[in-house]
Amino acid sequence: MNFLKRTIPLIIAFVMGVLMAMQYFVPHKLSQDLLEVVSRWDRIIAGFAVFIGAYSLFHLHWTRIKRRVAGWGYSVFVYFGAIITLIFGLLNGGKFFWNDKQEGTMFDWLYYYIQVPAGATIFSILAFFIASAAYRTFRARTNESTVLLIAAIIVMLGRVPIGNYISQYIPVIADWIMAVPNLAAKRGILLGMSLGAVATSIKIIFGIERSYLGGGD
């Protein structure tokens, strides 16, 4: 059992890890074909995984409805939405699901007039959250937050026409803040991250980091 659960996955991780790392340096068609095959496998596995995800989702919400936990009414909506979408998806505008997907059906209507606006609504909340987060951050309680506050004001003014009206130097300073200190910090983070990613990849390829298989050793 340990051989199936640990040894084989570790061998697969090692072989595929080395193979795919080398693939990057080999431009030959065989190498490109290998990448294509592996990507296709990934998509196939992801396709099967959808069933596991759907089971998890419906099982979770069924349990909530059954136990009448707080907010169980939302779980009813999950079933309601899924069933309605499934029915209209299968109906396919009267041509049924075994034909090509039809345009302008009720299925499309559900997507364009319910899912997309609902997603946009959630996204729009971000504007308010940015305002509240900015308020908390920009309160000049320490030297660091004072520097942050001044930098933020300059950058914000430098990005709008009024900044140029106040002083022609504000957009120039804003650009300098973005192009020099900001970019330097960003590159520093990126360099550290890249090294971390290489180290993590090596740990996984050589089987040193195994916790993603379950367990700590």
């Binding site: 340096f25 190498s31 596991i52 180290a199 990849s201």
Partner: protein, 413 residues
């Protein structure tokens, strides 16, 4: 008579004045000067699909003059198939520094790549097929051919020579990491700098245990193919182990079914390790939604209804980062975030109590487990950073004196 002479003199003068202009205009179409040479070669570092063609610029190059390349499988063929057509004032060697570098003369040569299989679509072609090319200059109805016929085979390459620098860097970094892993086995008491975000994990879990409220672990939006998700599952394993010890309640929300399956297995194993297999509930590791904003809405709902005592946001996040973290902050939970999405780092810093920035996310597993071999990789990362700093300083100084070869050394194509 005098008037006739004057008119004749005036007409002659005008004709002489405009003669060079007539000549110049006439020349652009009537006298095309073809390039002096025309060469073809297998495109280096490719899959074997294209042939490269190059020729020097001509004095006749202009916006209304075209270069047309004809292809044939036979040297004595009819060359009727047009493979490529470009304006004569476009496509220079400067567009392919990976082949010609950054020479000043690159602007004096045209360069194009032709995919013969695509051009000769439908024809049966041998892998070792030799392709022949003829170059013509075309302006209006005038067409002038270059005498030379260029030929080349399109062959696949087994090594991308322009990526050798990356390969060498990869080998050096891997060697450093493996050295420190071996070194750490011999010297397990290695010093690690303090990472406040990870030291606070125990505090957050203790708080949740005392309050009798759940701990919420939120995965990022990327799948198992992402290195940050793998790092996140490693951290999840360590956290789950501690939660099993504390007998607290852990909830893990996912947006990817594969990540969910892996997380279920990781949490289950951690409970087994802690000797608490009975406490593991697979329903606590669940999928809430696979789309970005439904995921945000569902997780936000869980936060506001169940009010977890501690929230962990670990992985790669996009625009949802601030919405999730701000909702969590509003519920009063202690929040620890870890991400390598540098665009989201400022949002987490403003709304979370502790944030693991970039590489700290990858260091977390080693830091929490204190396993010598994993800790060795952290030391290797620090050495790698030291090397990078030296190279950066050296590169800056040399570039300031006009020596740019160190920049070219690290260039990736």
């Amino acid at each position: 008579m005098i008037h006739t002479k004057k008119i004749f003199f005036f007409v002659t003068l005008v004709s002489l004045a405009f003669f060079p202009t007539f000549v110049a205009f006439g020349q652009s179409f009537a006298f095309l000067i073809p390039p002096s040479e025309f060469k073809a070669f297998d495109t280096p570092n490719d899959a074997g699909e294209t042939v490269s063609l190059t020729w020097p610029v001509s004095p006749s190059d202009a916006a209304d003059v075209f270069y047309v390349i004809y292809i044939d499988k036979d040297k004595n063929g009819s060359f009727e198939k047009e493979a490529f057509r470009i304006k004569s004032n476009t496509s220079y060697r400067t567009s392919v520094p990976e082949i010609y570098g950054y020479k000043k003369t690159n602007g004096n040569y045209h360069y194009v790549q032709v995919n013969p299989r695509k051009v000769l679509n439908g024809e049966t072609l041998n892998k070792k097929q030799m392709y022949y090319f003829k170059l013509a200059m075309v302006a209006g109805d005038n067409k002038t051919f270059v005498d030379a016929i260029a030929s080349a085979r399109a062959r696949g390459n087994w090594l991308h020579t322009k990526k050798i620098n990356n390969f060498v860097i990869m080998i050096i970094l891997s060697a450093i990491i493996l050295y420190f892993i071996v070194h750490a086995r011999r010297n397990p008491n290695m010093f690690l700098r303090k990472i406040s975000g990870l030291d606070a994990v125990d505090e957050a879990l203790g708080r949740a245990t005392e309050m009798g409220k759940p701990v919420l672990f939120v995965h990022g939006l990327t799948g198992m193919g992402s290195i940050s998700t793998i790092a996140a599952t490693s951290i999840l394993g360590r956290i789950a182990r501690k939660i099993a010890d504390y007998d607290a309640n852990l909830q893990v929300v996912n947006n990817d079914p594969i990540v969910m399956s892996v997380s279920q297995e990781v949490v289950k194993e951690s409970y087994l390790e802690a000797g608490r297999p009975d406490a593991y509930n697979p329903d606590n590791v669940f999928l809430v939604a696979s789309e970005q904003f439904p995921y945000v809405a569902a997780v936000g709902g869980i936060m506001t209804r169940e009010k977890p005592a501690a929230n962990f946001f670990i992985g790669y996040f996009y625009a949802e980062a601030l919405i999730l973290a701000e909702t969590g902050a509003a519920t009063g939970a202690i929040q620890i975030a870890g991400t390598d999405a540098y665009t989201q780092v400022p949002f987490f810093i403003t709304t979370c109590d502790y944030t693991l920035i970039g590489e700290e996310l990858y260091a977390a597993s080693a830091y929490l487990s204190r396993e010598p071999m994993l800790m060795g990789t952290l030391r290797a990362q620090d050495v790698g950073k030291g090397l990078l700093i030296i190279i950066l300083v050296l590169g800056t100084v040399m570039a300031s004196f006009g020596l740019t070869f160190i920049t070219r050394l690290f260039e990736a194509f």
